[in-house]
């Protein structure tokens, strides 16, 4: 048999695995309704869409590469049958994928899972071929003799040190992290113990495999599957049995592949390889992880990079420090047992000391949850270990509560729409209603507007507009993330955690208002307006041919001004609505700042785009004034959610709900003629879901709240009292995952329960924007959890979703 050169085999296998892994990833993204709606539909990941377009071509390319690697086995080899079968099956599959598009789209969960699982078969198949065709003798691997535990602990130290040394630099660069030297030392200490513990457990688990008569590879697959389930699939709302099946299948396929390649590479084993591999750990800590930060999804990629580095370190130190082959486990015990006990003692000591530091030193910043949350933002290796090792559950029902959140998130069952009606009958108004301009600027933060932050000097036109408008100072989105935030604005109410309940029309209270008053709709076409808002023939569509991620405020305003000019004689009132994506993290993270502009103290690419929006907004107002529509128009400028711009090393919005993601700006200009009729308390807690009922009020109706989950008008008759919201508790949620919160105390108190990472936190939100993490008592935790359960249950009852069978 002619052996292919090993580097060629490696390259072919890696490329082949990449192709099939990408196929599986795409299929999994289509399985998750939110991932399909938010990543695939708007073409947010352009290369993935291109990959699907060229899928059949890539398939043949991959098969050709694999053919080269299998050619030596086709004539006479012990894997001849396997190789031929693979090629024949692949050729048939190739013909099928060329003739029929097999890649799934949304709303076909069975097909998505089937394609994902099928895509993993070739990876495992080739792994098996490599394994069986290897010339090297099958080794008793791994070896657990004397020194093996020492090697595992050495790997722990290397990984811990690499990330612990790097983390202060990242924390210094981050905003919103109150990390003193003391908190960093606490974090590094806890991380040290966690690494020793995790690597010892890994060693013991692998060493136990012999006693348990289980192949080590099987245990590795189970562990890797558990990691994928928690770290990768839960954050994209793939949960339950499907998540376990997919996770374990991916893990098994890749363990087989790597195992096979390892046997092929066995003859070229040298000391240099493991040393080079160990050198990759600092590269991961200092190079890869910081590079991933700006476009990560809830720390997922950083955690995977850290785990990859840990696996490499473990394997490399085992290879370097391998004990003599003839040693037995019994012999090793004399050395290993004291070491394991020592690690256990370190673990116990840290577990006892860290929660008491704040009390001993009288410094709240040393509270275990504050210090460790802050530190773990910069140390993904510790962050992921903490996710699995930290079992300091505050409440006995922790697991059940988080399971409840997961079970009520990203629902996949069919849900019937409800009718959201703020008035019993939406009759047309006797007088011509005002024009309405609803500008929801995706990801716009209020602290980048001069109306909210006196340090902002780059939004003069929006500042001028604010002086002529009501600037609501305590406004929040009910949802972190566009997916549910925008529909909830149209509905004027919380919507069930599903993307999406269709038909949406019964819930679209805003559209009902527009229909009643015969508004001429001028609306940007994006995947949500198209799917939910209804762009019928009577709608003038903006941004028709513009890819969604390239929807810019300036581009849309230019089209809208043309619309105003072209249809100036149309007697109907106008409703114009757009959601530009200039500020979306996908557009700002690598954006350049125009030459000559500078925004010190701000995230400059983002600030530059806010400045551009400001200019175009000003020009649009000039046009409105010129055509005589400004005085009689309701103009709303808001965002669907905020964004993290480096706070706590978080970027974008993802599935997190944190203060900077929930806070939004809201500026409403009421037509001059109506101002005397209405009063508003701009300092009262307000939500994006209040905008639609406010439009009902401003157009002359008296909206009544159809359900507790619905919003209320921010405007009341000038002589009426505005009811306080000080003693109410409001449910907020992530659009994309099982993360919920309760906002109370007129918007000052935010409790967050993260059902994905299994931890909770509380913030004191100053109206000025200085958010402070605060501790909570067990009673507070219980009370807030009860409120979350109550409000989810109420929403479920409204939609007729059965709670039976949920935890």
């Amino acid at each position: 048999m002619t052996r292919l050169r090993l580097p060629l085999l490696l390259i072919a296998r890696v490329l082949n695995a990449l192709f099939f892994l990408t196929t599986a990833v795409y299929a999994i993204l289509t399985y998750s309704p939110f991932a399909y709606e938010q990543f695939i539909q708007p073409n947010m990941i352009a290369w993935l869409s291109n990959f699907v377009f060229l899928h059949a071509d890539f398939f043949w390319l991959s098969l050709c590469l694999t053919l080269l690697t299998l050619a030596p086995h086709l004539k006479s080899s012990r894997v001849r049958v396997l190789a031929w079968t693979y090629l024949i099956a692949a050729a048939i599959t190739g013909v099928v994928v060329t003739a029929v598009p097999v890649m799934p789209s949304g709303n076909s969960p069975v097909r998505s899972v089937a394609v994902a699982l099928a895509a993993l078969i070739p990876i495992a198949w080739l792994g098996a071929i490599d394994h069986l065709s290897a010339d090297s003798p099958r080794r008793r691997v791994p070896d657990f003799g004397r020194g093996a535990l020492g090697a595992a602990l050495a790997a722990a130290l290397v990984v811990w040190a690499a990330f612990a040394i790097e983390s202060p630099m990242r924390l210094r660069a981050a905003g919103g992290v109150d990390a003193t030297v003391a908190t960093q030392l606490v974090g590094a200490g806890a991380s040290f113990a966690a690494h020793l513990t995790a690597f010892t457990i890994a060693f013991l688990a692998l060493a136990s495999s012999r006693a348990a008569r289980v192949a080590p590879a099987f245990m590795v697959s189970i562990a890797a599957g558990a990691v994928l389930h928690e770290v990768v699939l839960a954050p994209i709302s793939v949960t339950g049995i499907v998540s376990w099946v997919l996770s374990l299948a991916i893990a098994a396929a890749f363990v087989t592949l790597i195992s096979g390649l390892a046997r092929q590479l066995a003859p070229v084993e040298s000391r240099r390889g493991p040393i080079v591999a160990l050198a990759l750990v600092p590269v991961a800590a200092f190079g890869v992880v910081p590079a991933l930060t700006a476009f990560d999804w809830g720390f997922m990629l950083q955690k995977l990079a850290a785990l990859g580095a840990a696996c490499v370190a473990y394997a490399a130190t085992q290879a370097l420090w391998r004990a003599r082959r003839n040693e037995t486990l019994q012999g090793a015990a004399t050395m290993a047992v004291p070491l394991v006990v020592a690690v256990m003692l370190v673990h116990i000591t840290v577990a006892m000391i860290v929660p008491r530091l704040a009390m001993w030193f009288g410094d709240a910043r040393l509270r275990a949850d504050f210090a460790l949350d802050a530190y773990s933002a910069a140390d993904p290796s510790y962050r992921v270990l903490r996710q699995f090792l930290e079992t300091d559950r505050a409440e006995p029902d922790d697991a059940a509560f988080y399971a409840y959140l997961r079970a009520n998130s990203s629902l996949k069952e069919t849900v019937r729409p409800v009718s959201v009606d703020f008035v019993r009958e939406t009759r047309p108004l006797p007088a011509r209603p005002p024009d309405i301009f609803l500008f929801i600027i995706d990801s716009l933060r209020r602290d980048y507007l001069s109306a909210y932050n006196s340090r902002v000097t780059f939004t003069p036109r929006l500042g001028e507009f604010a002086r002529d408008s009501d600037v609501f100072t305590r406004v929040f989105s009910r949802y972190g993330g566009t997916g549910l935030a925008v529909p909830s604005i149209w509905a004027g109410a919380l919507v069930v955690h599903k993307q999406y309940v269709t038909p949406f029309a019964p819930m679209n209270a805003l559209a009902k208002l527009l229909d009643a008053d015969d508004y001429r709709r001028v609306v940007t076409r994006d995947h949500i307006t198209e799917e939910l808002f209804g762009l019928d023939d009577g709608t003038s569509v903006l941004d028709y041919r513009v890819p969604e991620m390239q929807h810019t405020f300036c581009g849309t305003m230019s089209e809208l001004k043309d619309e105003l000019r072209a249809h100036g004689s149309d007697p109907r009132p106008i409703f114009a609505h757009t959601r530009p994506l200039d500020l979306h993290i996908g557009n700002t993270r690598f954006a350049a700042v125009p030459p000559g502009e500078s925004y010190p103290g701000f995230f400059e690419p983002y600030a530059a785009r806010v400045h551009a929006i400001d200019t175009c907004f000003g020009e649009f107002l000039d046009e409105l004034k010129r055509v005589g529509r400004y005085e009689s128009s309701i103009i709303v400028v808001m965002s669907d959610h905020g964004d993290s711009l480096g706070e706590g090393l978080r970027w974008g919005h993802g599935y997190a709900i944190v203060p900077e993601v929930l806070r939004i700006p809201l500026l409403i200009r009421v037509p001059t003629a109506l101002r005397a009729q209405f009063a508003a308390d701009v300092t009262r807690l307000a939500f994006a879901t209040d905008v639609t009922p406010s439009l009902y009020a401003l157009t002359g109706r008296t909206p009544t709240r159809p359900r507790a989950a619905a919003g209320v008008s921010l405007y009341a008759s000038a002589d009426a009292d505005i009811p306080s919201r000080r003693h109410d508790a409001f449910l907020v949620a992530s659009s994309y995952g099982a993360v919920y919160g309760i906002l109370a105390h007129n918007g000052r108190r935010l409790y967050i329960a993260d059902g994905i990472e299994g931890r909770d936190s509380m913030y004191d939100l100053s109206p000025a924007g200085a958010d402070e993490r605060i501790g909570m008592t067990d009673a507070e935790r219980r009370a807030n959890r009860a409120r979350i359960r109550e409000q989810i249950a109420d929403l479920s009852a409204w939609y007729g979703i059965s709670q039976s069978g949920r935890p």
Binding site: A128, L204, I348, D681, R748
Partner: protein, 120 residues
């Protein structure tokens, strides 16, 4: 020889030993139990939702959270109902120091001041 596919290793070559399994179980038990058993005590009050009439609890929570505006507003309410308008005004002024932009506190303070001064 017929190839046998056991990814990751051959189990047949080593003598078994139970100590790793025993230590693994012990370690997992330690991880599960120790933090719960050694957790320091935390205060019992629900400082987010203290009853408005429980002046003692409100004052206790204000010691823990001296900048909590809602606690201050509720305490001022209770004090006002108990006829202690002077203390209520003082508490509301403290609240306004923390959150000067809160219109509702400002209105309450104005109303209370007017009541105190006899509506002048």
């Amino acid at each position: 020889m017929t190839p046998r596919f056991i990814p990751g290793g051959d189990l047949s070559g080593g003598r078994d030993a139970a100590w790793p399994l025993v230590l693994l179980m012990a370690f997992l038990l330690v991880i599960r139990l120790v933090p719960t058993l050694t957790r320091p005590p935390v205060p019992a009050d629900d400082c987010s939702h203290v009853s408005k009439s429980d002046v003692a609890a409100l004052e206790r929570c204000l010691v823990v959270r001296p900048d909590d505006v809602e606690l201050m507003v509720d305490l001022a309410d209770s004090l006002e109902r108990a006829g202690e308008s002077g203390r209520a005004v003082s508490v509301l002024r403290r609240a306004l120091d923390v959150d000067p932009g809160d219109g509702e506190i400002l209105r309450r303070l104005e109303r209370l001041t007017v009541t105190q001064t006899g509506g002048d």
